[in-house]
């Protein structure tokens, strides 16, 4: 039987269409994924992300271990609660997973990694950790929800009450705070303001119900995908995997080459690739009728590539995509859609931020 999060019954009660997501029974939508999408852009929505894997790293070598394990540099983190996005790479620079790391002290960090890659991630983390004095503790009993949207702050305040909300009031993006049972972080996967909240599994349903009772829209995987794609955020397994590097995946910004004396897994391969040149992940925009889809062929100046993620953008009203193409790509490309070639614009892979188009 598929895995179920502590919110399974709540989803069914809310009328969710449940689907298998890498071995988890998860809600695809609760009726209309476009309405859910719009709720997050205009008001607030909540996602069950309890299937994600939470891993605590502790010990005197915790900082040294993570500086070696991750392509981004946890030494940048000096304020307790601060978060950082990073790839976890193999020796060839291929992306094993992308994750968020939270800093508490030099001896205590928390990682949130993808559920689809859980086994591979855990095996990798444990094998690398064997040379360091660290303990790796998975936290499967914790639940997690993502509350996102321009009204997320006001809704969370309603649910927590003024006193409990005070420590997170006005918290900057990519920060976190433990408030009683709730680990509250200003992170997300939608391009809106909002929170990811980790709670003990037996308390997550109460939080979920409280949020729905103050008018927060429950949202499924369908809306999660269109929101993250509009925001230009990668989906592991689709936009990148172990066969490509962060440089080919619009994640170059998350690789800390400086300081030059920090050794991290994949560094040599990335430096070689940087010198030799590489494909890149770009955004595509098509204002004609139709929808760009994963797997469609993209013809550009100097070669061919492929759409890694494509969808109809509910916020913009036309189709957008991410595509991996040769670096020689110009301002336009041709996409093969249902046996026809359609001309599309090539843009930076970021389309919507905080409810508004970022396209020129």
């Amino acid at each position: 039987m598929a895995n179920r999060t502590p919110l399974y019954d709540a989803h069914v009660k809310a009328g969710a269409k449940m689907v298998d997501f890498h071995g988890w029974d998860m809600p695809l939508n609760y009726g209309s994924q476009i309405e859910e999408h719009n709720a997050v852009r205009n008001d607030s929505g909540v996602f069950d992300v309890s299937h994600m894997t939470i891993v605590d790293v502790a010990g005197i070598d915790a900082k040294a271990f993570l500086r070696y394990l991750l392509a981004n540099d946890v030494a940048k983190l000096t304020v307790p609660g601060k978060a950082l996005y990073s790839g976890m790479l193999n020796e060839k620079g291929g992306v094993i997973d992308d994750l968020i790391v939270y800093f508490f002290t030099d001896e205590s960090y928390r990682l949130v990694v993808n559920s689809a890659t859980r086994e591979r991630d855990m095996a990798w983390i444990h094998s690398v950790a064997s040379d360091f004095k660290v303990t790796i503790t998975e936290q499967p009993s914790l639940g997690m929800v993502a509350l996102q949207g321009p009204k997320a702050e006001e809704k969370l305040k309603l649910v927590l009450g003024d006193d409990a909300f005070a420590p997170v009031a006005g918290m900057k993006p990519f920060m976190s705070e433990q408030v009683g049972d709730y680990f509250i972080a200003t992170t997300g996967y939608t391009g809106e303001k909002g929170y990811e909240i980790v709670v003990p599994g037996d308390k997550v349903e109460k939080l979920w119900d409280d949020l729905l009772n103050v008018g927060v829209q429950p949202c499924g995987l369908g809306a999660r995908d269109t929101l993250r794609l509009e925001a230009g955020m990668n989906l592991y397994g689709q936009d990148m995997d172990e066969s490509v590097t962060p440089l080919e995946s619009n994640m170059g910004w998350s690789v800390a080459f400086e300081p030059a004396d920090r050794k991290f897994i994949g560094r040599e391969a990335l430096e070689q690739q940087k010198a030799a040149g590489h494909a890149k992940l770009v955004g595509l925009v098509m204002k004609d009728k139709g929808v760009l889809r994963h797997g469609q062929k993209v013809i550009v100046e100097g070669g061919e590539g492929e759409i890694t993620s494509g969808t109809f953008s509910p916020t913009l009203g036309f189709s957008i995509a991410m595509a991996r193409v040769p670096a020689s790509v110009g301002d336009t490309a041709e996409v093969e859609i249902r046996k026809k070639l359609v001309t599309v614009s090539v843009v930076k892979p970021s389309f919507v931020r905080q409810g508004k188009s970022v396209l020129a």
């Binding site: 209309s32 994924q33 269109t226 009728k289 139709g290 109809f312 509910p314 249902r338």
Partner: protein, 129 residues
Amino acid sequence: MSTIPKELKYASTHEWVRNEGDGIFTVGITEHAQDLLGDMVFVELPEVGANVAAGDDVAVCESVKAASDIYAPIAGEIVEVNEDLEDAPETVNNDPFGDGWLFKIKAEDPSEVESLLDAEGYQAVIDEE
């Protein structure tokens, strides 16, 4: 459990057909089909006046999830298309058997409709999926 009106005829490819009299038949997609596709974002309809054969792909329903070809359930001439869907494709989701109809076809041979599935036969098709 999706609705399957008894008075309609069905194709195994999830189109429904309603007899409007005078050899005219309205065609749409079933509630089950729209549910599989999810939120509709574009509907591409045939040209009025086009002559089509049974089984021709004549329209496309494109949802957030996928593009799906719509086949002519019977042969004939397209006499009208639902232009309201241009601005409101979600009508196919909200009212698949009513305002969400796709096109009307003047049958070459109205008796061809008799060979389509009835509600029970269509239910069996869904059950096998």
